[in-house]
């Protein structure tokens, strides 16, 4: 099987790996690079649990042909914390009980980060829109919306 070299930035560090023909970025990140934070939920682009940020935009790694990220900047939940210091979203997800099984959480965090990077104080409607491609089967979404509000320094149903 043909292997193709791919080089890109992953969470700020250079990565050089070989991808298989037709391999998607999710599989390359998980098995090729060993970044296990993006999750497989469907391979169809319908669940959002593999969401990563590529060149500042949220994308679905399961629908991204791995070799196409050559030279691009990829961000995953694995790089969200700054060393031991958690990102405000991570703190807010913990504080607001915004995860149950936790499987959708890395994708949710990436979708939320992409939003906050551009819109530091999003409205509730903007948050809903930002996570609309990410499915959560456990929480009913409300704690997640609350956590993103809290991470952006806005009142939630508990604090507001």
């Amino acid at each position: 099987m043909t292997k193709k070299p791919v080089q890109f930035q992953l969470n700020g560090s250079p990565v050089a790996v070989f991808s298989d023909e037709g391999q998607n970025l999710l599989d390359l990140l998980r098995r090729g690079v060993g970044d296990l934070s993006p999750k497989y939920g469907c391979g169809q682009g319908t669940c959002g649990s593999c969401t990563v940020i590529i060149d500042g935009e949220p994308r679905l790694s399961c629908l991204t042909l791995a070799e196409t990220v050559e030279g691009q900047h990829v961000e995953t939940t694995n790089g969200l914390a700054n060393g031991p210091d958690l990102h405000a979203l991570q703190e807010a997800f913990m504080e607001n009980f915004a995860a149950q099984c936790g499987y959708c959480t890395p994708g949710m965090l990436m979708a939320a980060k992409a939003l906050l990077d551009r819109t530091p104080r999003p409205s509730r409607a903007e948050i809903v829109e930002a996570i609309s491609g990410n499915i959560c089967r456990c929480t009913g979404y409300e704690p997640i919306i609350d956590a993103i509000l809290a991470a952006s320094g806005q009142p939630t149903r508990r604090t507001g």
Partner: protein
Amino acid sequence: MSSVEFRKDLFADERDDNLQEIGKPTRRQDILGHVTGRSPYYDDHLFDGLLHMRCVRSPHHHARIRSIDTSQAERMPGVVRVVLARDVPNNLNTLLSLINFGKDEEKLIQDTKVAYVGEPVAAIIAETEGQARDACAAVRVDYEVLPHVLDPEASLKPDAPVVNEIYPNNTFDYHDLYDHQKLRFGDVEKGFSEADHIVEGEYQMSPIEQAPIETCGAIAAPETNDRFVCYTSTQALFFSLGTTAKLLNMASSRLHFVGGTVGGGFGGKVDSIVEPLSVLGAVLTGRPVKFMWDRAEEMQVGAPRGAERWRIKDGVARDGRILARTFTGFFDAGAYTRLSSYAIIKCTGHIPGPYSIPNVASNVYCVFTNRTPATAMRGFGITGVDFAIECHMDKVAETVGLNPIELRILNAYRDGDMKPHRRLAKNTALIECCQVASQKSGWAISADAARQSSLTGGGGSRADIPESITDSVGRIGERRRTDIPTEPGMGAASRGRVAAGTQGIPIVAAAPQDEDMITDPARMGFRHAPVAPSQPGATPSSPVPPSAAPSAAPVPPQQNAPAPQPAPPQQPAAPQPPQATPDPAPAPYKPEQPFSRGVKRPGVSRFLSGSRRR
């Protein structure tokens, strides 16, 4: 936006809220892993040389397998092993054989006949998932398509195709006696004849996919000590281990299962299919093998909660009291039993819902059809019948012209009431829930309904077991010969009677095996035991008009207790949790007609529920 209040004022005299850790909003132990993406789900264990397994699946609802040609697939790039039925050492199982319930009937991989679309007939192990997919597409299976049946009631007709040869009547065999589970309490015909209204309804549940975001999967690998490790998404670690040991005819000591961090289950990860297949793959190849369902398989091949069909008939008095209720239920099990047979037992124990009804009867059928086998889902055995019951209660309320909440309170079960499965109700709280929901929504109920309590008004004559009418319609195989009614008691040539007042002894928890395990009851947060059921004659009255003057209600209006707040210290009373009683449990009740099992058990796993094997 949602809100949560804790009504600490209710049942306050039964609880000691002065606990150190219980009742505190402690953060989840696993939350840091979740938000950093480092929680170790089964697929987060990396192996060098990991192989991938995929299944070749039936495109037909029902077909005989004439032949399977894997020659082309074997030559495909990356293919390491083709797995067929003959590679499975003990290729017949039923999931609940681990508790000795039902006959072995389902193959891990089929070789003779497929009974649903998606049933596996072969598995391919290849270097990549894509190669395994390509090779699956190259397997040629010659099928002889057979007539199929998809509607559960059509499946009960004498001429219906046989879905599952182990159960040739298309129904699970209960107690080696009937083709359904019966419940008989009192005399429903008498109840109907005394009623002012008869209310009938039919309800149909949809099949529901559990839809965890992590699909079912497992990775198995040889360990260095001649064992196999299996990382799994299972909801039941030893269930999956035991099933694997049985199907692979392997000592359980050679299996090392690791799980416990699972991306949602909702009942869909009990079936233990990915574990034996991945371990079999590791055995056959000597390499790590992953078997993971893709989303399409999870949705259409993974077992859903089966559809249920319910018919309910109520005899209702003018004032809203339900005098008799019958159920006829059909659980669409799909092609194999999985857990449906047990759901029906659970459901039968739940009937007629949280109400005290003096005459109750039900017939519930576990029916085989040519569709994906059904299994557990959040609300196992209960969600469907509760939908039926509560929709039906709305019709009853409309029929008698009563506020639907008051109708529920009027008929609600209370402490000390006898349930149709012949055990006394205790620790009930339906009435209080109704009252609080009424308050919160502003949907007013009468003063009399607001005055009722689960603690009083039960027991007395409501604790009696009435003389009950029985019948023996629906013996196994009868329905295959002739079309007979499915409703309770219908079509009976003769009726039996079970005398009033007979009741078995409730089973309580096995006592702690060592006195060191007996907990100081003062530390368990209980206060005095619930008050004894009140005397006869205190049964609830008929509802009074809403115009009646409100009186002091046992459920006062909202007292918002923003939990968690430690309550002030109080004197520990003398609670009596079970840990306090070192006495051995009373002997389990044994009905005269033994609960029949009859598992075919070559290679049966030996370590689960051994007490139930005979």
